[in-house]
């Protein structure tokens, strides 16, 4: 059964989020994980349109978003402002926190508990 909360990964490089989602899918089979990596033409950077598409493609009702560097965050925030799906953006260590969230969501842990576990991973 798909979980209520999904995971969104945003990076400057599409291979980074491709690789990271492989890692996460292994421990979070029922969590919808979607990705936005790189610019529209698959260069290095971030794309408002790709992030918006990844939000729409995510099967969950609410989204926990993780990102690599600052400009991914700025684009994420712009998408969040126009999105109907609630999005929570985490300023946490990218790989570790996305892994933690995915594994806990798969285990059916409450969202409050997930957020609590992510707190010590805040680095930005």
């Amino acid at each position: 059964m798909t979980r209520k909360y999904g995971v969104l990964l945003v990076s400057h490089v599409s291979k980074i989020v491709d690789g990271l989602s492989l890692l996460l899918n292994e421990v979070a089979r029922d969590v919808s994980i979607t990705t936005a990596g790189g610019t529209d033409d698959d260069g290095i950077g971030s794309s408002f349109d790709k992030i918006q598409a990844a939000v729409n493609a995510n099967k969950a009702e609410e989204i926990l978003a993780f990102y690599d560097l600052g400009s991914s965050k700025m684009n994420l925030e712009m998408v969040k402002e126009v999105s109907e799906k609630p999005i929570t953006i985490f300023d946490t260590a990218f790989i570790e926190s996305a892994y933690t969230a995915s594994a806990l969501l798969q285990a059916g842990v409450s969202i409050d508990e997930v957020k609590k576990q992510l707190e010590p991973l805040k680095i930005k």
């Binding site: 529209d40 290095i44 950077g45 971030s46 408002f48 600052g70 400009s71 700025m74 925030e77 712009m78």
Partner: protein, 194 residues
């Protein structure tokens, strides 16, 4: 005062200037970032110019909104959401009945700061926007003021954006986004809009 015609002229001039200085902007970004600011800005402003040439606009707000969307979705670096937020803010302000250029630029600077959280002195485009804003309020905006604001970013240590990862190593280089923002305001003067 901004009109549909002179706003398009202003932004077209900006696109031409960015295209001409593309390599230089990337060179500045090479020193303290990833070397793509020229490519980012020229991709974004070329898309903006194309979008502005394709339709007839009824209001300054529509012009600025269309420009914002092109920059936001085509630039691809941090400057995409930053210039996008600036122009979205400016478009909103342009919709108010008794607005003026200073209030519009103020709304643009607010948009950038809301998005990127940079303060003056952080060695970003914000430094140029705020100096220009101050000069506009005093009625003293000139090319020299703009040049000075851009050059003044060189001795600063970057606190925001990719250059901030370099710490002290960012000192001694002009901020690329400050340079491109300088072009934007020089085009305001060159276009005779002031």
């Amino acid at each position: 005062m901004l009109t549909v015609e002179n706003t398009i002229k202003w932004l077209d001039l900006f696109a031409d200037k960015v295209a001409a200085e593309k390599d230089y902007l990337s060179e500045l970004d090479q020193a303290i970032g990833d070397g793509d600011h020229g490519a980012n800005m020229s991709r974004g402003t070329a898309a903006m110019k194309e979008a502005l040439g394709k339709q007839n606009f009824g209001t300054v707000q529509d012009v600025l909104k269309t420009a914002a969307m092109s920059l936001l979705s085509k630039i691809g670096g941090a400057s995409g959401p930053l210039y996008g937020s600036a122009l979205i803010g400016m478009a909103k302000e342009a919709g108010n009945a008794d607005t003026d250029l200073t209030s519009i630029v103020q709304a643009g600077a607010d948009g950038i700061q809301k998005r990127g959280k940079a303060e003056p002195g952080d060695k970003t485009m914000v430094d140029v926007w705020l100096t220009v804003l101050h000069a506009l309020k005093e009625g003293k905006l000139t090319d020299a003021v703009i040049d000075q604001a851009v050059q003044a970013t060189a001795p600063l240590k970057a606190k925001k954006g990719r250059a901030s990862y370099l710490g002290d190593r960012s000192v001694g280089h002009i901020d690329p986004g400050a340079m491109s923002s300088g072009y934007l305001f020089k085009c305001l003067i060159a276009g005779g809009i002031l």
